[in-house]
């Protein structure tokens, strides 16, 4: 997600009225793309898409199948599955990042999209944080304490790590709730990096 462009949300939904409603709610803040079925959704999907709202029950390719294909393509987008029933924790293992139970209200949709974008931000911060920590660890493992004390590079790195650590606790306020926690871990296990 770049600074200037709005985040991109892809709506995959076979009922035109429902899709149109989501679009109306989201279009002021996001660039919205719409697909009427799974195949069309996969066609419209590229690395610029940040969040996918995926209907689970669709004719043709089901939401579950679309999700599997999205994960295979390793695009790093966040997927909110739209379902008629509220799933249990275990269903989070299926690989979506959030679920929304129909019917969806405007506020709920906004919150979910915001949350998923924050989580992406958290992941990229965590990734950047790790890169710095690894650099620091290499220095600490190869240089003496005296050499480290002299090193400007080490000093700067330490400050940068400190700042990033604070940034991480600000984003998401740590890990907001159970869904965030599990979905974030799922992202780690899949090696899904930004």
């Amino acid at each position: 997600m770049s600074e200037s462009d709005p985040p991109v949300v892809l709506i995959v939904e076979d009922e035109p009225d429902v899709a149109e409603t989501y679009k109306l709610w989201l279009q002021a803040e996001y660039e919205v793309r719409m697909a009427q079925n799974g195949d069309e959704g996969l066609d419209l999907l590229d690395e610029t898409v940040d969040v996918v709202l995926l209907d689970r029950m669709m004719p043709g390719l089901s939401g579950d199948e679309v999700l599997t294909r999205i994960r295979e393509r390793d695009l790093g987008c966040r997927v909110a599955m739209v379902t008629a029933v509220e799933p249990d924790f275990d269903i989070l293992e299926m690989g979506f990042d959030a679920y929304l139970s129909k019917p969806i209200r405007s506020e709920q949709l906004h919150n979910t999209v915001t949350n998923l974008l924050e989580r992406s931000e958290y992941d990229s911060l965590l990734q950047a944080y790790y890169a710095l920590v690894e650099k620091q660890a290499t220095l600490e493992a190869t240089k003496s304490t005296a050499e480290l004390a002299e090193s400007e590079q080490y000093d700067e790195l330490t400050k940068e790590i400190q700042e990033m650590r604070e940034g991480l606790s600000d984003t998401l306020g740590g890990i907001g709730d159970d869904d965030d926690f599990i979905a974030t871990l799922r992202g780690l296990s899949n090696g899904e990096e930004n």
């Binding site: 620091q136 790590i161 890990i175 926690f181 599990i182 871990l185």
Partner: protein, 219 residues
């Protein structure tokens, strides 16, 4: 605040902030695991919840060992996440403790679900304080790379922070290169280091929790 100084006598361990995660590092057979369990048991005697994530002992063993340490252990005061991958993926109650089976020590999502359910159970039984022990990160490092384990520790610490829990995690310092230890260490608020002394016995020191590293102290 959590007082761990009754388990390990250091001033730096007297008032550990809720949300802190501590790495216990030492060579094989240096008593890391025992120390982690003692931290949990000491809290459980005062009514704190206890969560054990195990990659080596089966859940049943953990529950009975824990009962030996804390005879007054109450129903739903202990949750065990067994990641050895030998007990299927069931969850349920074993001798009054909540037990969740995970398919492998590399299944971070499964471990997360187990921890979530264990925390939820403890919360529902009215416990607002608690301690989690993960034994050990060394096993997890054989299933996945250090980058993933680092991130996992960071995310889990964050979750413990929002629950107001403290966490203790063990790592076998003799099983990994220095860089790996340095990296993993960074995911924690503090470090308890254990070492064997040539003349016999064991020493410990505490780093990072308050002020300068402590001196080595005979145990």
């Amino acid at each position: 605040m959590y007082d761990l100084s009754t388990v390990l006598d250091f001033d730096a361990l007297q008032s550990v902030r809720p949300g802190s995660s501590i790495l216990i590092s030492g060579p094989a057979m240096s008593g890391k695991e025992r120390l982690a369990y003692d931290v949990l048991a000491d809290g459980a005697r005062d009514g704190d919840g206890a969560v054990v994530v195990t990659t080596s002992d089966q859940a049943k063993t953990v529950v009975s060992d824990f009962r030996d340490l804390v005879p007054e252990l109450e129903e739903s005061q202990l949750g065990v996440i067994d990641c050895r991958g030998e007990g299927g993926t069931d969850s349920g109650s074993v001798d009054g403790a909540y037990v969740h089976q995970v398919s492998s020590p590399g299944d971070l999502t499964g471990i997360g679900i187990g921890i979530t359910k264990a925390l939820e159970g403890l919360h529902n039984s009215g416990r607002e304080r608690g301690r989690l022990a993960l034994v050990s990160l060394s096993t997890m490092l054989t299933y996945t790379d250090k980058k993933t384990v680092f991130k996992f520790c960071h995310v889990l610490s964050s979750r413990l922070d929002s629950a107001g829990y403290i966490g203790v995690f063990t790592i076998d310092s003799s099983a990994h290169d220095e860089q790996t230890i340095q990296v993993i260490k960074q995911a924690f608020d503090g470090l308890i280091e254990l070492r064997d002394v040539e003349t016999g016995g064991r020493e410990a020191r505490v780093l990072g929790l308050s002020g300068e590293p402590t001196a080595w102290k005979q145990l």
